[in-house]
């Protein structure tokens, strides 16, 4: 059987069920707000958002692979491009770009200029330490872990903190070799 061609982010986004982004944006805002009330410490909220994102990423990668027909990426560079061009587009409807590669090709930045999570959002002074979009870094970390890549994802720039774009640094820590033959019943 001939391999199925990978689809562009635009094509996938056009074909999936979509909802009004306001619902998504306001729901996320309400979650952050409730977590700030319940956990009190901003640092704890950052951790919780990251954890929630991780859990989502772990599940979302299946949908991503099923709908995108993306085949195995040859290297981490390609992986980063696919996340930015296909992953962001098919879920959030926006495209990100990749830059700032280090010499080894294991660290790069994903740059997001348009981010539906922060529509209507302004951080009050009491939330200065908050990484409002921390769920996104968790999603990337979780999704990559499911395809055998251990990463560290950190925010370098944040528009809610006055920067001109959102910049997520993704650092490949370890590529876990897949074990073969796979065991089916464990």
């Amino acid at each position: 059987m001939a391999p199925v061609a990978p689809k562009s982010g635009d094509a996938i986004f056009a074909s999936v069920d979509r909802v009004n982004a306001e619902l998504f944006t306001l729901t996320y805002g309400a979650i952050v707000r409730q977590l700030l009330t319940d956990l009190e410490e901003v640092e704890e909220v950052n951790k919780q958002l990251d954890q929630m994102g991780y859990n989502i990423g772990v599940r979302l990668v299946d949908e991503f692979l099923a709908k995108s027909n993306v085949s195995r990426c040859v290297d981490f560079r390609e992986t980063a491009e696919v996340i930015a061009k296909v992953g962001f587009k098919m879920f959030l409807g926006v495209t990100a770009s990749v830059s700032n590669w280090d010499a080894e090709g294991t660290t790069c930045s994903i740059i997001l200029e348009d981010n539906p999570l922060v529509d209507f959002v302004e951080l009050p002074d009491t939330c200065q330490g908050l990484y409002y979009c921390n769920i996104l870094s968790g999603v990337i970390r979780g999704a990559l872990e499911m395809v055998s890549m251990k990463t560290e994802v950190t925010w370098l720039r944040d528009m809610l903190r006055g920067d001109d774009v959102f910049e997520l640094q993704v650092k490949l820590l370890k590529q876990v070799p897949e074990e073969y033959p796979y065991k089916d019943d464990e």
Binding site: V16, F24, L26, T27, A30, M52
Partner: protein, 175 residues
């Protein structure tokens, strides 16, 4: 053009709210978890109804506001209207969605009769699956209560899924 995101984004958030609050912070206190999830929904409903009524004249009575929830509000959220509206004309309204989207991807044991009853979440604590479904329903219940509250109508909202895949939301307006 209206900005959109994939439906999976919203469903993922919803699943994560429920699991964070039910298995994380309030694992042994389902009633507290339920209240938090409802509160998140309330906030969302409150803000959405503010946005969707910006250019409208004030509603003159409860029925008009409820009809707005059934038609315009529901369409913005689910791209369909509520299928059936009943009322006892004494402040109770039953809004039935024949195929509620947020339950479409969940496996539910239809033999278990549950209701996302805000008053008594501990009643469903015995059955895990029923509890999980009930917990998911606090969010839309909160959205409806928040939306109506923003329109000046204090009420209690519960959900009934005894008739799957239909889901009925029971709105009791406080006198």
């Amino acid at each position: 053009m209206v900005r959109e995101v994939s439906e999976s984004c919203v469903e993922s958030l919803l699943a994560e709210i429920v699991s964070s609050y039910c298995t994380g912070f309030y694992a042994n206190k389902p009633e507290l978890a339920a209240r938090r999830i409802e509160a998140i929904g309330f906030q969302v409903g409150h803000q959405l109804s503010e946005r969707y009524t910006m250019d409208r004249p004030r509603f003159t009575d409860h029925l008009e506001a409820i009809k707005f929830i059934c038609k315009d509000f529901w369409s913005e959220l689910f791209k369909k209207q509520i299928d059936n509206l009943k009322t006892n004309h004494r402040g109770t309204f039953v809004l039935q969605d024949n195929r509620f989207r947020w339950l479409a991807h969940m496996s539910i044991d239809p033999s278990v009769e549950t209701s996302g009853n805000i008053q008594d979440p501990s009643a469903m604590a015995e059955n895990k699956a029923a509890q999980a479904t009930g917990m998911h329903l606090y969010f839309p219940c909160g959205i409806i209560r928040g939306a109506l509250s923003n329109l000046g109508i204090p009420c209690a909202v519960s959900a009934d899924i005894s008739n799957l895949p239909a889901c009925s939301f029971v709105v009791r307006i406080k006198a």
